[in-house]
């Protein structure tokens, strides 16, 4: 089956720059009054099945310095392994669980997400992938958004389609968040260096 040859080129990426917060988290950078709330700041609206968890994700550069000007978006399945979207674009109802979150990093390079633990999603090989959250990271000095995943250390990650693609098994650990208290997980994202996180070309 032939598919049409693409006729256009994708718009090239540029850095989000140091003032990304003006456009994407204005309330976070002391610009209230235009948007009622920053988009993605709340992922749970009402009763949602599943275990409520807190994810803290810290961004660290190649010199070991936390990124105080980064921004992270996450996208994940709900507790049953289903994605909220795509949805009818003009629907008026807000989903109880949006699956999507956006947070700016603080002075310590940390972003915090209040969400639920995702269920298993079928992988391309037909087997369920281990529970994971997809990440997209932008900041000053990042020319094109970095894509990676967060897995959980207290889940069975054996046989995961994506983790198994990482030939150097030691590097698989860079995607696995450690349990950091009750219902709390932490992951350090190293942009560069000895502990460099595995980033994807999706």
């Amino acid at each position: 089956m032939l598919h049409p040859v693409p006729t256009l080129k994708e718009s090239p990426s540029q850095t989000a720059g140091p003032y990304v917060h003006i456009g994407m988290t204005p309330n976070f950078c002391d610009l209230p009054g235009v948007y009622a709330a920053d988009m993605g700041s709340t992922m749970i609206n009402g009763d949602v099945e599943g275990e409520r968890i807190t994810l803290s994700i810290r961004l660290i550069d190649g010199a070991g310095v936390p990124l105080s000007d980064g921004l992270v978006e996450i996208w994940q399945a709900d507790a049953s392994g289903s994605f909220v979207s795509p949805t009818a674009p003009n629907s008026n109802s807000v989903p109880a669980f949006t699956g999507w979150g956006r947070q700016a990093s603080d002075a310590n390079g940390v972003t915090v997400f209040e969400t639920i633990k995702p269920g298993r999603v079928a992988g391309p090989d037909g087997k369920p992938m281990a529970p994971h959250v997809s990440l997209w990271i932008v900041a000053r000095g990042i020319n094109i958004g970095l894509q990676t995943r967060l897995y959980f250390e207290d889940e069975d990650n054996e046989g995961d389609f994506v983790l198994n693609k990482i030939m150097d098994k030691r590097r698989r650990q860079t995607l696995i968040a450690r349990k950091d208290g009750a219902r709390r997980y932490h992951l350090d994202i190293h942009l560069q260096g000895e502990k460099e996180t595995v980033f994807f070309d999706i």
Binding site: E10, S13, Q14, V20, S91, M129, R140, G141, V162, L191
Partner: protein, 248 residues
């Protein structure tokens, strides 16, 4: 958001042409030095996790969200600067319109000053201009907003580097793997060719794609000029359905 699956929503995306996009490590733009991964990216076959993505209904947008001239006005006074309409179509690589997708934008004021607590440029703030907005594309993929033309501004990179006038854009598309942030420049601006951030892109045609065109036909006479800026997201082919074997 009712969970209706759009046709082709889990179709495979065309591979990103990373030679067309900027590389991660571009020494002329100094901030990339410690923020560029050194390992190769891991090529990942598409999975449902990245072929889906969030969508945003019109209901969340306020009436002034796409009017930067008025959305931060303190007392009805409008922002100072060269008034303009920025509009365009969001398409995919197959030249199909991308309807119902969120487009966000942010910029400096007419003097090149950002309203951000970490910004210390001496050009004055405009009390009636915040510099951000958003829109959802219509059924044909079009978005538009009103604003004032941003000024150029200096930045600490080289000893005397200035950004060309630009507006930052964030676009979602329908898959998390289509997520894109870019910058729009203005036709004819000589500073485009001196900017280390623009120069992270190797191909002149790719830079040209980020350069908005003056569009006299869509100006508002005696009010605002118009610039057209189309945005192209990654194309995808559809999964073949039993009732539509040819795909689409």
């Amino acid at each position: 958001m009712s969970g209706i699956i759009l046709p082709g929503a889990d179709g495979v995306l065309y591979q990103r042409d990373r030679a067309w996009h900027p590389a991660a490590d571009t020494p002329g733009y100094k901030s990339t030095t410690f923020r560029a991964p050194k390992h190769s990216l891991l090529a990942l076959g598409p999975t449902k996790s990245e072929m889906t993505g969030p969508t945003f209904g019109h209901e969340k947008l306020g009436p002034l969200d796409n009017d930067l001239i008025r959305n931060f006005s303190q007392d009805g006074t409008e922002a100072i600067g060269q008034r303009m309409i920025v509009y365009g179509q969001v398409l995919d690589e197959n030249a199909r319109a991308v309807p119902g997708t969120l487009v966000e934008f942010w910029q400096a004021n007419a003097g090149g000053r950002y309203r951000h607590k970490k910004e210390a440029y001496l050009a004055a703030l405009d009390p009636n201009f915040a510099g951000f907005g958003r829109a959802v594309t219509d059924e044909n993929g079009f978005y538009s907003f009103r604003t004032v033309k941003p000024g150029a501004y200096p930045w600490p990179n080289g000893g005397n580097d200035w950004r060309p006038a630009h507006i930052h854009f964030s676009v979602f598309g329908h898959a998390f793997a289509q997520r894109l942030i870019t910058q729009m420049y203005f036709e004819g601006d000589p500073m485009i060719w001196q900017c280390p951030i623009v120069a992270t892109i190797n191909d002149k045609a790719a830079i040209d794609q980020l350069t908005a065109r003056l569009d006299r036909h869509n100006t508002t006479p005696m009010d605002a000029l118009a610039y057209r800026f189309d945005i192209v997201l990654r194309g995808r082919r559809s999964t073949m359905f039993e009732n539509k074997l040819e795909g689409n």
